[in-house]
């Protein structure tokens, strides 16, 4: 990662993002939870800015957080950075074992929920079926965790502190999963077999700093439909 070559106003926080990206949204949720002021700079998917390319030359992707001129990429890495830099309203648990479990679940969510969902969105036929199956199996595990950890008093995986790291990492599902289902043409969400997860989604959507950030589904569907068509069109033309 390049450093020192971008906006270096002392203490200034900049976030490079796409409005439709769940990875960017996570970082915004973390910043808002902490009450950190930041400048949001919208990027273009196909016409990547010099700022984006110099701050994340390895992956050329958003989100990128730039703080004190230092760029940080990868949403989970950024979230840990935010938690370590701004100490108010901790996102990760304080206890080392609980922290490790939060990181374990974040990894599980990324590998077994987020990535298969993205793959299912951008594929079709047998390949998509395989990803949907993986996703369904992972959702059983998520429901199991929700059953084990949540109740009428404990609404979030962050426990008595309210929203926490796992909630923010999983949070994209409450705004994007329906979109991915509609655009991809499959079903994964099931209120009957996932009652605790659905309760969690409903509660997460209502959190005061989360609610205003949620994008209208129609807008997301329109955009992701275009992304899916572009990806499948490319594959067909190979």
């Amino acid at each position: 990662m390049a450093s020192g070559s971008v906006a270096d106003q002392e203490g200034k926080v900049m976030l490079l993002g796409f409005w439709f990206s769940p990875f960017v949204k996570r970082v915004e949720w973390a910043l808002k939870f902490k009450g950190v002021e930041y400048d949001y700079v919208e990027q273009e998917l196909t016409n990547k800015s010099t700022l984006l390319l110099t701050s994340n030359p390895i992956h050329k992707k958003v989100p990128v957080l730039i703080h004190n001129g230092n760029p940080i990429a990868e949403s989970l890495v950024i979230m840990e950075y935010i938690d370590e830099t701004w100490k108010q309203n901790p996102i990760l648990p304080q206890d080392p074992y609980e922290r490790a479990m939060a990181r374990f679940w974040a990894n599980f969510i990324e590998q077994k929920v987020t990535e298969p969902a993205r793959d299912a969105l951008l594929s079709q036929g047998e390949q998509q079926e395989k990803k949907v199956k993986e996703l369904k199996e992972a959702m059983e595990v998520v429901e199991g965790e929700a059953k084990a950890k949540l109740n009428d008093k404990t609404l979030f995986f962050g426990g008595e502190n309210g929203v926490g790291y796992v909630d923010i990492v999983l949070g994209w599902t409450c705004n994007w999963m329906e979109t991915v289902e509609e655009v991809g043409g499959f079903k994964v969400l099931d209120p009957e077999s996932q009652p605790q997860f659905h309760k969690w989604m409903a509660n997460f959507r209502e959190v005061p700093f989360i609610k205003p950030t949620l994008e209208p589904t129609e807008k997301l569907v329109e955009y992701f439909r275009m992304l899916r068509q572009a990806r499948l069109g490319l594959v067909a033309n190979k």
Binding site: M1, I58, H67, N68, N70, I72, A73, E74, V77, I78, E80, Y81, E84, T85, P96, Y97, R99, A100, M101, R103, F104, N107, F108, V141
Partner: protein, 226 residues
Amino acid sequence: MAGNGDGVTLLGYWASPYALRVKWALKIKEVQYEYMEEHLPDKSPMLLQYNPVHKKIPVLVHKGKPLAESLVIIEYIDEVWKHNPLLPQDPYHRAKARFWAKFADEKCVPAMFRAFSKVGEEQAQAAEELRENLKTLESALEGKQYFGGETIGFLDIAVGWIGCWARMNEEVAGVNMIDAEMIPLLSVWFQKFLELPIIKECLPPQDKLLEHTKEFHKMLMMATLT
């Protein structure tokens, strides 16, 4: 049952690089632990109980509580035993170390596996991708002796195993993975790192690992023929 009182137990497999990097972390921190070998592919009831989600090693059990995922375990070890810190203190440098560990695990390791398990064009492409990604990883050294600076740290133990496995893999699969001309600094670092006594003494016996690698490769090649 493992995890007696305050004790530390590591469930591992002798040929696993993921168990190895946890061993390195425990060694650096001078933590006394009980090692329990899993006789893979058979999985013990203890493993299934302690890691029901993934059913994989390594699993660290501390004070009776199990943890899985090698990098998660290493960060836990770093936070519980504070001497000889693995991650740097500064949040930005910690972020960089985590970023690069993720890069190696997501971009270098799968490419290495594909270069090892595929043939023909697919193998050639995977090997090229691996060499390029190792070149990118090299930039993270930033002219230092180790990724951790003067002494080894989190990123060194996260990625160091690749030097050992890649050399073995390239010999068995017959494709170049470590190109010393392309990655002069990283090659030197691999060598230095793997020669450190604390690192070397945890490595699996090299002749046994080579046999194991050959067997595994044979199995994979037969699978591609069916």
